[in-house]
């Protein structure tokens, strides 16, 4: 008897070969790309930032495990997606956000926005942004108006965007831009270190974890809008959550389209709404709502396809070969 006859032989449909990629590895890459940003925020804002990060990550993981246990599903916290959500949420919260508020935000993010919709991959809205939106409207004082200034424990009045909104003139100098680039300004944890966000963008794009289309479309749209409105373009790009949102939120797998054209339009739409809210809305910052609005549109944007093999551009008519007479193969 051949050895093959005494072994356990598996039967399955092809293919039988598989790349080494896994959900866990993908999530881990995203986490690693976020670490410099998180560490920088802790350096800038001190313990208050660390507290937010730890609270958010731990409660997200705990809530996910608890929900899955409670609903008798397989516990999948090993896929690290809850850690990513926790980090994302922390990055869009101000340093010094109260612990209990952060825990509530995590609960809404994981249980309401993610698990109620069917868990990993099935959620319609970005969980971290839903968590933030919940906190934003529920606790406006802690979330919207009291920003911790870097390096101090002093709660100051406003961010640049809210100052702009209020009509206070902000005169930006070269050093202001530099401070923004380095992250030395008031703002949410992950939004501040622009240079590190750009680094993460480059790394994630190079590793093909994210697609450049949506982020670039979003940022360009805001830039063009600001130019037309006569605003300070560099300040508009460097301030608020624009770049963080563009790199980490409009590239979120579950809540954005998979088609390339769909991604371009998604980024364009998010950019346009951000600009409109900043320009005309009553909120100083528009990134959160713009992405959440576009999340709802994402499934529809999957209708925007590129040309499939063997079809004309309409993707319906078969593409007939126009034979240029006697073409050589070489």
């Amino acid at each position: 008897m051949a050895p093959s006859d005494i072994n356990e032989i598996y039967i399955s449909s092809s293919p039988h070969y598989k790349s080494k990629s896994s959900t866990q590895k993908t999530m881990l890459t995203v986490i690693i790309s976020m670490l410099p940003i998180v560490i920088a925020s802790i350096v800038i804002f001190g313990f208050a930032a660390l507290e937010v990060v730890l609270t958010s990550v731990i409660s997200c993981v705990v809530f996910e495990a608890a929900f899955q246990k409670l609903t008798k599903k397989t516990i999948r916290i090993n896929d690290l997606s809850a850690v990513v959500t926790g980090l994302m949420l922390a990055c869009v919260l101000p340093a010094g956000a109260p612990v209990w508020e952060t825990i509530l935000g995590s609960l809404v993010a994981i249980v309401v926005a993610k698990e109620f919709f069917g868990g990993l991959g099935s959620n319609v809205f970005n969980p971290a942004l839903i968590g933030r939106a919940f906190m934003f409207v529920s606790f406006p004082v802690a979330m919207g108006s009291a920003w911790l200034q870097p390096g101090t424990d002093v709660v100051s009045g406003a961010t640049v965007l809210s100052q702009l909104k209020a009509g206070t003139s902000v005169v930006a100098t070269k050093s202001t831009y530099l401070q923004f680039l380095l992250g030395n300004r008031a703002g949410c944890l992950g939004e501040t270190s622009i240079a590190l966000i750009l680094l993460a963008f480059i790394v994630l794009t190079a590793l093909k974890i994210i697609d450049w289309r949506a982020p670039v479309a979003m940022v360009l749209t805001v830039a063009i809008g600001t130019i037309i409105a006569g605003g300070d373009v560099i300040l508009a790009l460097l301030s608020g959550g624009l770049l963080f949102g563009a790199v980490f939120m409009v590239t979120d797998y579950a809540t954005t389209p998979v088609t390339k054209k769909g991604r371009l339009i998604f980024g364009f739409g998010a950019g346009l709404i951000t600009f409109l809210i900043r320009q005309f809305g009553s909120y100083p910052e528009g990134v959160m709502f713009s992405i959440l609005i576009m999340n709802a549109v994402a499934p529809f944007l999957n209708n925007l396809m590129s040309r499939k093999y063997g079809y004309e551009k309409d993707n319906k008519t078969p593409r007939m070969v126009q034979k240029s007479s006697k073409k050589d193969t070489k």
Binding site: P15, K208, N302
Partner: protein, 449 residues
């Protein structure tokens, strides 16, 4: 470098066997088990149990144009005609022949392909039972019967051999170069093609000087050449090799002939040459034995119908635990429940795979990353097809490319969540075809009234 958009670069593992010359082997039981149908329309046996047959004698055929007859690959006595396990892991009718010692053969008379009429030449290809030896086993005479109104510019020799592990085309390219070039010339003649190109993946670029020499020696330098394409899976897919080599695309629901191309596998062309020059039908099959569990991966040539189990342990030795037995390559091959299945005309390889080489992980939730979209060799939307199918939305599934899928498996290979995309798409295709057939039947019934 010529190529197509999408695709993957899986580990090739061709070094395991690509230096091993093709070696002839014979089953230890001196018995072959020949499937009655090996490509094309279903055949019927034309011999009975107890009959004596001679190597090369026709033993099964059908009247249908889309069929390819099957011949005895050894001389001997018909022992049984019964259902047996075959290389697609399904039972099918097989003719079991116990070989005697006779060296007798019953080949067809030799024929000069260039002086007979095209009709006679195509008939010869059919009589020889030649089918696509790359894996699809589509009857070759059908491929060479160019529909009226279509002109063929190129015959492409599919020598990409993009499936990992398989090296039989690579060996044939160097061991049977002249027969290959003769086969190409015959195919070009039958199809009225202007030019012929041997399309190689870059990893076989070392064969170019040999091939070009042989072309020159045969006097075909004017109309034959070698084209190099990027080493990438599935470069050897019919749709991809045509678009890579010529920049043309097979129109949706169309045929390769619509692009002015005929694509033939290396082995098929060698079989065509032998059918004319020796009158020999397709009764011997060269293939690769490889995989991590095989002690000495190698390339063999055996009579069609040789049961793989009958080559163990005399020819094939296994030294590790086997987790999967594959007929064909790891991307598109079939997993078979045990090794007791016969080599068929389209068996390009048999792989004994260890656990380490495979992925046996469970499915996890789709994270919607879109990697399947990036790698799809036909620029389709696998994740969206599968989601549409899940919701019962056939219309959307069709829009995202359900019926354009070629089952190449690149999507599933790349999926971080191990989703069985190909299996689901296949099921969806079968269901849709059944739906169409049912609709058609209804229509006919209606019109009948």
């Amino acid at each position: 470098m010529l190529s197509f958009k999408g695709g993957i670069t899986p580990p090739e593992r061709k070094e395991l066997s690509n230096k091993m010359p093709i070696q002839a082997a014979f089953p230890s039981t001196k018995t072959v088990s020949i499937p009655v149908t090996q490509g094309g329309a279903p055949n019927q046996p034309i011999v009975k149990v107890g009959d004596t047959v001679v190597r090369g004698q026709k033993i099964a055929e059908s009247d249908a144009f889309m069929s390819a007859p099957v011949h005895a690959s050894v001389s001997g006595k018909i022992k049984k005609i019964e259902n047996r396990l075959t290389s697609t892991n399904t039972d099918a009718l097989c003719i079991v022949i116990a070989a005697d010692e006779s060296e007798e053969t019953d080949f067809m008379p030799k024929m000069d392909p260039f002086t007979v009429s095209k009709k006679e030449a195509i008939q010869r290809v059919k009589d020889a039972g030649i089918v696509g030896m790359g894996g699809a086993s589509f009857p070759t005479h059908v491929k060479l019967s160019i529909p009226a109104g279509k002109n063929i510019d190129f015959v492409l020799v599919n020598a990409a051999e993009c499936e990992p592990y398989l090296t039989i085309d690579e060996r044939n390219l160097q061991e049977k170069t002249d027969a290959l070039i003769d086969g190409l010339a015959i195919a070009m003649h039958i199809a009225d093609a202007e030019a012929g190109s041997i399309v190689l993946e870059e990893n076989k670029a070392y064969l170019i000087p040999n091939l070009e020499d042989a072309i020159k020696k045969a006097g075909y330098s004017e109309k034959m050449g070698v084209v190099l394409v990027k080493t990438k899976y599935p470069q050897g897919g019919e749709k991809n090799i045509i678009s890579a080599a010529t920049g043309r695309e097979i129109p949706a629901k169309g045929l390769p002939a619509d692009t002015g191309c005929v694509v033939q596998n290396v082995g098929t062309l060698i079989a065509i040459s032998e059918a004319f020059r020796e009158g020999k039908p397709l009764i011997d099959r060269p293939f690769t034995i490889s995989g991590g569990a095989v002690k000495e991966p190698k390339n063999l040539i055996v009579p069609v119908g040789t049961v793989i189990g009958d080559l163990i342990p005399e020819v094939i030795q296994l030294d590790k635990n086997v987790t999967k037995i594959l007929s064909g390559g790891p991307m598109m091959g079939f997993s078979v429940m045990n090794a007791n299945f016969p080599v068929a005309k389209n068996t390009s390889g048999v792989l004994f795979m260890t656990k380490e080489e495979l992925s046996l992980e469970e499915e996890s939730p789709c994270i919607n990353c879109g990697r399947c979209v990036d790698v799809c060799s036909c620029r389709l939307y696998p994740v969206l097809i599968v989601k549409s199918l899940k919701m019962g939305d056939t219309k959307s599934a069709l829009k995202y490319g359900l019926m354009d899928c070629v089952d190449c498996g690149t999507c599933q290979f790349s999926c971080p969540a191990n989703i069985k995309l190909v299996q689901r798409i296949r099921t969806g295709k079968t269901a849709f075809r059944a739906e169409l057939a049912a609709q058609k039947a209804k229509q006919i019934a209606k019109e009948g009234k």
